[in-house]
Symmetry: D3
Subunit: 135 residues, 6 copies
């Protein structure tokens, strides 16, 4: 694994807490606000949340493929939080870094250079997920 100009052991020593914090922060905020949204008991929104979960279940296509579809769609629509979510799911479903990079490539070609800043943040999050897994 490559961490820019930073030697790896150093990176882990200095930044380990930050790394896991970044992932934790995203997950905590997401889950806290989802709870607060669902607590409002709006039927349409509750059913949409439900449907969202069902969309990525195993079917004619595998979960892995569907999560990559969700990832590329989130990237071209430039939704950083959606990208993070699907990166987590891709990671859980054994998508490799080379595969993620090819999803990024499709997103950047279809959506243009405005997707590049999102690709920067996406790769950063992806590499944090990799570090997190290995520990």
């Amino acid at each position: 694994m490559y961490f820019g100009y930073i030697d790896r052991s150093c990176y882990l020593n200095l930044n380990f807490i930050t790394v896991s914090n970044k992932i934790k922060e995203f997950r905590d905020y997401r889950s806290m606000m989802n709870d607060r949204i669902l607590a409002k008991d709006n039927l349409v929104i509750k059913r949409l949340f439900n449907l969202d979960t069902n969309t990525y279940m195993d079917g004619a296509l595998t979960i892995k493929t569907k999560e990559m579809l969700g990832l590329v769609a989130s990237m071209v629509l430039r939704c950083d939080d959606c990208v993070k979510y699907h990166l987590e799911k891709c990671h859980e479903n054994q998508v490799t870094t080379d595969e993620v990079m090819e999803v990024f490539a499709v997103a950047n070609i279809v959506g243009g250079t405005i997707v590049i800043p999102h690709t920067r943040r996406a790769l950063e999050y992806w590499e944090e997920l990799l570090v997190f897994k290995e520990l």
Copy 2:
């Protein structure tokens, strides 16, 4: 009113300053930068700012309805600052939380799950406006 897993009195005690700060920060930055933009004396931009204000005035539709239209448009276009602004105006014009949730529902159905992260931030801001009002 519901604040996730946090007991209300505790929330108020611990977070009151943060709560008003968040709203204050948005308003201060918005108004400071609007002043700096207008100071540049670009006629087109000045007139657009003016026109923007006129758009939400009482007419065939009430201000309340127009602010909800502005809110849903801002949500599907995924402009967090615009959402905050229209939430403030909805709040001033007696839109209830149930009504806001139905505006969110339309936005999420029309615009899809990429609107969800904006809904999280929107509900958070809305609930801060409610706390702020009650104090």
Copy 3:
């Protein structure tokens, strides 16, 4: 009602068949393709169609208000077919031309001049709905 430079009786005489055909064509294609989509039995899509219908039902907000929300959201997202659909529903729910114009105004201010071409097509369809109703 105003039809540009065309005298009304003349408009009706010359164009009546075209007018109703335009509305009919939109409805027929929409309903034929919806049937073909639903016939594929994809559970997620079937439930989304269902949920879409529920979104615009009476609740904290009236159907009329919700249809105007759907209309403005469709306009800023520049989906002509969605605009037509919500114009039909607005028309069924007694939205007046002045009210429709104020929805258009919000859409054009929030979404910019790229919304103008969609406003042209929207007004054309709206006026056909008005003629159609009166006959």
Copy 4:
């Protein structure tokens, strides 16, 4: 295969020429205008066209997966011509109708109901590709 309310043999007898014409028309216009664009000798555009082709080549992900990624990205960005192109490539790469429907499902959930009109046109084109193949 299902063709709405139209009996299949009848569909083929009556509409065969239309069917192949629709596909032919898209391909002919696309290829004629691509030629005219490339004839202008703008280096950036020529290299982008080239790069576009390379994006969907076999790599860590299969062509089939990449074409589905291209399809879902085109759908959420609501580019009908891009959708048609990727449907052709999906069809060439043995994507089944059930798989295509699951790609459509992801696109509709992520991108919302504004994707539905594009789904109608996409399914229509897909079914023409199927008829075309079988003949």
Copy 5:
């Protein structure tokens, strides 16, 4: 000038009426519907139309530069009618074909391959404007 596979004299003989019709059709519909919109007397929309005209007037930047800015903005936002309008203005303001192609190149790189179908239609319209001028 290059017309794909079609010999020029032949193109002019066969298609001259079509060529001018295409431009005429766009202009006529645009101007008819603008009149019908303005006749509704919605103040916000009337002032926005006005402001739109003022935006492209001579200032710190020339009209020519501003029209190219309007063109690239319309292309990345994928508004074919806006593209046609700014192509006409670019043409009136002596933008050359090489310059137009460089505007297209920026649009395609920033906005990605979903801009390509709009580039096809844009170049077609541009070349019709060139033929129209020369006659």
Copy 6:
């Protein structure tokens, strides 16, 4: 130069480090993550990065004009990081504040009031570039 309600000398005294830090932070993150992206050796992405650089080179249009085209395209697509990048390039290529304001005006008229929050951040960054240059 105008800095809202803050007297200039005071601004420089108190905020000089922040000012340069903001620009430095953007540049550092951008260049660090670009390096990490390129290190993944995805050919399509590497060539797209390359092509992106070539797009803004001198040609039929000057670099200055092309950078303004890139700026307006980034603004209407509402990509803050892309806006910052093109503001830096505009600044390097002697675009004046009045010219930048006219680019902003086109962006706000074409893209609507959802562009305003991006205009706020853009002007803030632009004025930091001006301060930075003068020191």
